[in-house]
């Protein structure tokens, strides 16, 4: 049956265009990046992957800054750059066969032994496809050498590298971390360093704006411009100490960029300072890290009480906006047909695994329908069409096709039709995507439909989340139960 235009669509992993976050600030081959499909980081990164002239508005100033004589920096900025330039590198992922670069990012020295910190997404292609890629560094003074991957922290998008040649960075020193007991205040100047779009090493001034609100993973809000290629570079305070690591920017705003707090990079260094290089492909450690992350996320989420959807009849599960962001929408006033109110809640942070795959996210959505203007038959047709108009993904290289279970569910006397679909992760073994689709079935001209999606959870957590979601449904007022 065709879906009439008046029925709101409930697309899979709906991303509001305004909220598009460029997670991957890695510059790469435009063709390869464009091949990446659904995940926001890859799709957004591909925009910035174009050569400098075609770069988006957000990145153009950076390109010019590096290509032409730079505008005068503040004396502090000059000093910070001078102090750090010998400890900065560009991290290149090369195709083994033809030695051409498939993506580039930045990195910086954090120890005397030559340890480098960069983003995980800068080296993910190498970490997952070591048979066809290799990593090299290029310093500001043009020295090059091979790199090896010591450890990753996929949850915070960090990687620890070391040169294959132990003395490659001898005598260069390292950039120290700002101690944790010296908190920054909002508005303090930060200096972000890196090699934007492979144009040349550059420094960008911006300000510290605290932590990003409603983010499950702590992330610093940097009021400055970051461009593809600067990923993995350091953001320093006026004294040249690491505050964070460049990680992402938003294309829908001006100078809204993100940094991974330096403490996570420091922890990664301390944890793996003496570790041997990772056995590649690195799916095993990545899976282990995502496992720990999802456990914490699921337990935190299940503990949070649902908040009210404001529906006069049903209790509909709407998450608190602790680490999800919700957007609402309702029927346009000129509608002659089905009236609805919808709410879309989604975690904006997720765990980047590869240019085509991210996980570790939750989204919750519902639509409350009122079809009293329509009558029972018309309402049933639209209500069914909306229930049918859902996508649960297909078989791909990371996930199996979904398998679903469906039946009538009675929740505290409220009659529901429920569908629970699961997909197993092929490369991150033991993780599953879970979706629960629910429609209330107690009125012939009104109802509510909801959907919960959890990406990358253990089976037990997937079950717990599904049950938690179903338990969120019920009557707002027990009197209704007799209706």
């Amino acid at each position: 049956m065709p879906v009439p235009a008046s029925v709101p669509r409930m697309p899979f992993m709906r991303l509001m265009p305004l909220l598009l976050i460029v997670l991957a600030l890695v510059a790469g081959n435009p063709a390869r990046a464009a091949a990446g499909a659904a995940s926001a980081p890859a799709a957004a990164a591909s925009k910035g992957d174009a050569p400098a002239p075609a770069a988006s508005a957000a990145s153009a100033p950076e390109a010019e800054e590096a290509a032409e004589p730079p505008p005068p920096l503040s004396p502090t900025g000059q000093r910070v750059y001078e102090g750090a330039k010998n400890r900065l590198v560009q991290v290149r992922t090369l195709l083994k066969a033809q030695d051409s670069q498939s993506s580039v990012g930045s990195g910086f020295l954090v120890s005397d032994e030559g340890h480098l910190i960069t983003n995980y997404h800068v080296v993910s292609t190498y970490a997952l496809q070591p048979q066809s890629h290799r990593l090299v560094f290029v310093t500001a003074d043009g020295r090059q050498g091979a790199l090896q991957l010591i450890d990753v922290d996929v949850v915070h998008d960090l990687a620890l590298l070391k040169p294959v040649e132990p003395t490659a960075f001898a005598g260069r020193g390292f950039i120290g971390f700002r101690p944790g007991n010296l908190p920054l205040s909002r508005g303090e100047r930060l200096y972000s360093l890196g090699n934007p779009l492979d144009v040349g090493f550059a420094v960008t001034e911006g300000s510290y704006n605290g932590l990003v609100e409603r983010s499950f993973v702590p992330t610093i809000f940097f009021g400055g411009s970051l461009s593809p290629g600067m990923s993995g570079g350091p953001a320093l305070d006026a004294k040249g100490r690491v505050i964070g690591v460049n990680v992402a920017t938003r294309r829908d705003g001006e100078q809204i960029s993100f940094l991974v707090p330096g403490s996570f990079a420091q922890a990664l260094l301390e944890r793996s300072r003496t570790a041997k290089p990772l056995a590649l492909p690195a799916f095993e450690p990545i899976t282990k890290q995502v496992m720990t992350y999802q456990d914490e996320l699921a337990k935190t989420f299940v503990k949070l009480p649902w908040r009210s959807a404001g529906h006069p009849r049903y209790a509909i599960p709407v998450p608190r906006e602790d680490f999800l962001r919700c957007w609402g929408r309702s029927t346009p006033p000129e509608s002659r047909g089905l009236e609805f109110e919808r709410s879309d809640c989604q975690m904006e942070s997720r765990v980047y695994i590869s240019s085509v795959f991210s996980t570790g996210q939750i989204s919750v959505r519902h639509e409350a329908y009122d079809g009293r203007k329509l009558g029972a038959l018309r309402f049933a047709q639209r209500y069914s069409a909306s229930f049918r108009n859902e996508f649960f993904g297909g078989n791909n290289s990371y996930l199996t096709a979904p398998q679903c279970h469906e039946r009538f569910v009675d929740r505290a006397g409220l009659s529901l039709r429920a569908v629970m679909c699961l997909r197993a992760h092929k490369k991150l073994k033991g993780l599953y995507d879970v979706s629960v689709l629910v429609a209330t079935l107690d009125q012939s001209t009104a109802g509510a439909q909801g959907r919960f999606d959890g990406y990358g959870f253990s089976f037990d957590n997937a079950k717990a989340l599904a049950e938690h979601y179903l338990d969120g449904f019920g009557w707002t007022d027990p009197k209704n139960a007799s209706h």
Binding site: M1, P4, S6, G36, A37, A38, S39, L128, Q131, S132, R336, G337, S355, V356, F357, K373, L374, L377, R378, A380, Q381, Y383, S384, F387, G393, G394, N395, N396, S397, T400, A401, P402, Q403, C404, H405, E406, R407, F408, V409, D410, S415, R417, A418, M420, C421, L422, A424, H425, K426, K427, K429, Y432, L441, D442, Q443, S444, K463, A466, E467, L470
Partner: protein, 334 residues
């Protein structure tokens, strides 16, 4: 006709579609057939010999025999090809045999006559009032569907397609089939095609409405899954019934052909579905949600439901393990 009592037999020469092209009365045996001018029946078929066949009663019992003359192509009787000099009884009950490219049938007075074949609507055995009811029913269902899909206060133009477009499309469809009948059967069987088409349409419409309702009511999801396959089967049966009115093939050959097409189509679709989704049928879950009063099946508690869903784990794990085996590291996503 003159002295029918003297008529010993009729020899009929047939077209490929079974129509009689030429009919020759036999008033005495033997009868010779061939291209030579001294034959009793002279043919202009270049694949026929000068004296191809002689028909003559046997001396012993008077049964009519077919003797093959001097010919390269012989005579085809059923599955057998008779060669020069051979003979056999003339095929009984007006069965067709072939000499060269000419199809021949011999009718003898003792042969039983086939019953009279019906014409027009009677071909399908459909009663006019049933056809009329089906036509109105099918149209009514389309109109109802359109009415349900439209919001209240829609304009008249939104009704043009089901009111006029669909009846016109159905008439055109039947006219095309009737033209086919005219071409092959030399009869413009419009009423028969119309009867078959509306019966098929109304059956498909009813299945599409009733099966999902039943699936919802009793929570028998498989009924909803197989609905497209069943309606496709009804569509295939309708096509078979229409083709029967057109193609001069035997009922069995036609039925086998259409069944084979349906089976192959279904097998291909199911294989593709299985490869892509691990399911035979396309539908992932039942989505028909009619008014709740129609629900008869009971419900489960959320915990029971989630625990039941946990049974999917084994299948998912097996599939993930199978697909995770080392292969090309191409990356794609949905």
């Amino acid at each position: 006709m003159d002295r029918p009592e003297e008529r010993l037999a009729l020899i009929e020469l047939l077209e490929r579609d079974g129509r009689v092209r030429r009919c020759i009365e036999v008033r005495g045996w033997p009868v010779t057939i061939g291209r030579a001018l001294d034959c009793d029946i002279v043919l202009d078929d270049p694949h026929v010999a000068a004296h191809h066949v002689r028909l003559e009663p046997a001396e012993s019992d008077g049964a009519l025999l077919l003797h093959v003359g001097t010919t390269r192509n012989g005579v085809q009787v059923g599955p057998r090809t008779l060669c020069e000099g051979e003979s056999c009884p003339v095929p009984p009950r007006g069965e067709v045999w072939q000499m060269g490219a000419t199809r021949v049938r011999v009718r003898l007075p003792a042969d039983a006559l086939e019953p009279e074949k019906p014409l027009g609507l009677a071909v399908t055995g459909a009663r006019p009032w049933v056809t009329a009811a089906c036509a109105l029913g099918a149209w009514g269902m389309v109109l109802m569907q359109n009415g349900i899909a439209l919001d209240p206060g829609s304009s008249f133009t939104d009704w043009l397609v089901p009111l006029i477009g669909l009846p016109v499309a159905l008439l055109l469809w039947c006219v095309l089939w009737a033209v086919g009948s005219k071409l092959f059967q030399h009869r413009f069987e419009f009423p028969a095609h119309f009867a078959v088409a509306v019966k098929g349409l109304v059956t498909i419409g009813l299945l599409e409405i009733l099966l999902p309702l039943l699936a919802f009511s009793l929570s028998l999801e498989w009924l909803s899954r197989i609905t497209p396959a069943l309606t496709a089967a009804v569509a295939a049966a309708t096509l078979y019934a229409q083709a029967r009115l057109v193609v001069p093939l035997s009922r069995r050959v036609l039925a086998a052909g259409i069944t084979a097409c349906y089976a192959i189509g279904a097998a291909v679709l199911m294989t593709l579905n299985y490869q892509r989704t691990d399911r035979l049928f396309n539908e992932l879950y039942m989505a028909t949600l009619p008014p709740p009063a129609l629900r008869l099946a009971g419900g489960a508690a959320p915990k029971t439901f989630v625990n039941e869903a946990a049974m999917l784990k084994a299948k998912l794990d097996a599939r993930a393990a199978e697909d995770a085996r080392p292969g090309p590291d191409a990356e794609d996503d949905d």
